[in-house]
Subunit: 339 residues, 2 copies
Amino acid sequence: MIPDRSLEVLRAIVQDYIASKEPVGSKSLVERHAFGVSAATIRNDMALLEEEDLIHAPHTSAGRVPTDKGYRLFVDRLNEVKQLGQAERQAIENFMVGSADLDETLGRTVRLLSSLTNQVAMVQYPTLGKASIRHIELIPASDTRVLMVLITDSGRIQQHVVELGQNLDESFIAELRGKLNELLAGVPLSAVAEKITGLVASFVPAKQDQVQLILANLLEQVDANRQEKIILAGTANLVKREEDFAGSISPVLEAIEEQVILLKLISEMQAEQHGVSLRIGKENSLEGFSTASVVVSGYENQGSEIAKLGVIGPTRMDYSSNIAAVRAVARYLTKTLGN
Amino acid sequence: MIPDRSLEVLRAIVQDYIASKEPVGSKSLVERHAFGVSAATIRNDMALLEEEDLIHAPHTSAGRVPTDKGYRLFVDRLNEVKQLGQAERQAIENFMVGSADLDETLGRTVRLLSSLTNQVAMVQYPTLGKASIRHIELIPASDTRVLMVLITDSGRIQQHVVELGQNLDESFIAELRGKLNELLAGVPLSAVAEKITGLVASFVPAKQDQVQLILANLLEQVDANRQEKIILAGTANLVKREEDFAGSISPVLEAIEEQVILLKLISEMQAEQHGVSLRIGKENSLEGFSTASVVVSGYENQGSEIAKLGVIGPTRMDYSSNIAAVRAVARYLTKTLGN
DNA sequence: ATTGGCACTCAAGTAGCAAGAGTGCTAACA
DNA sequence: TGTTAGCACTCTTGCTACTTGAGTGCCAAT
């Protein structure tokens, strides 16, 4: 077991290191914190911490730097999540008012989070797996094309043009629209596939091809719905903090440009404490992310989590305020969506 | 007038500098290019070029580097635009097949352009100022809300939910839809506002409020259409080429995150030669862009330019292949949109 | 107009040195 | 047993001086 004072020393090291970006030594430590013991004693404690792989010396005769494991212990046990200041709360309120649709709300959210933390911020679009269909509309868009609009109860609207390959027949489209809505209104997206089996057979053979085409498209649409999407803001912050990263930032930059990678990353993160999930450095299984930390929280609508948001920054980040910001923004977003 | 051989020297300097990223001196110049004269002669030519502010010596005793003006002369008069290789043509073809809707096509285009040039690529969404309305659809989305869908002849589809504040009346919605389409089908977006004056009065007083609301929303929608949008890809390339930039890249990064700035930049650029427009270094009026060059080309639909695409990179870029790539991609996109 | 030669400049690399910060260890102490 | 002071040792960092090499500008000769 690690004695209490050693843990205090770890906390001090993390705090000082985040503030100064310099390896921190025993002497400056006793100067800045009132430990009531001498530097030599601190050195003994530090030797212990190093034993436990919580801190690490870049070279023989330099100060110490927290390891990923050290940061982890810090956030799990030593860190009190900072309260947001009044100014920041105000900023959040101001930022969010007047958002009309989902796109704009999420767009504002991601920019807010980025400017609040000075990190790269990301917001995931709501997962529609749990959503259900509210309405399906088919609209003739040209002689041979029909526009299919899919509205879900989460408020998302998606549309796609279906090329029929032959002139369309208004009354047939109307019939199909009627049947689809009758069949699918209120049906969860996950159940759409099974619901529409057999629908083709209810049309006259001459039309079955077209029905088939439209249904295939609908399924694709539903599936694409489940395909998630992430928006980013503040990529420039990554470059500004380049020297905060141990290695090169370009793998990180490449990774965050790949939606798929980000989605994988986010989906692996399950809420831990305070509703916030954290990956520190090498805890990220992803290759390029070994010098980065990710802070993520879910946000909700109608009582259940619909997607996540968070920030990406150097392992040497101010966990306290970043966690606070992510949590606060997630809550405000949840609240906003509730209206 | 600058003699021919001096211009050849300038061309050689630009080419060598782009290739080696090192200031190029007289000696290495005569070694690599068969000028048939000695280094001393080249030095005289270089003195002349420096006189004209076409090249510049970073310090007294280093090689020379092209100035913005030098690059400009190079691209305008000395540079033959490279033909794309077979492999690159193939890549373009492969990339573009199977794009279904506009979003996906443009998404693929921007990634293609980025991977082709290894620069930051941008694609502007079609300007709808010149587009006209093909169809307007009103769909009940809940008891008090109606979904308005706007389809233009450029293939763009936009939708928005209008909150009516009172229970909606299907037959009234149908009436309004009919009138709107009769009135507006084929009408250019710019003419929508004047066309719908007087429409409110044709409804019974009890409904005028709702009509007003929907029309206001339609206008907003049309206006939002004119509000342009740009998508980016390859931001990571900027960081990889960081050392290619004279100063810091973070102003550039910040600028490209601001849609507004990019749109301003793009809108200022008018096609020059080969249908491609170019801004080199300080030619960009924008502050942070003095170390960056921008290559832009318009792309068309139905014979007229609807938007632009291009790349952003260091002034020290391979203009030849970047211009070729931008031009080729713009053409392919035009062709794809034609189908 | 071109060339070879030459003195000069400057950046970049290298080596040596001193200062400073920090460590680990040991012996003494409460 | 935990704490402390002292001390020798290590390693980084900054400084200076020196060398090297690439490149220039100019001049006199061709």
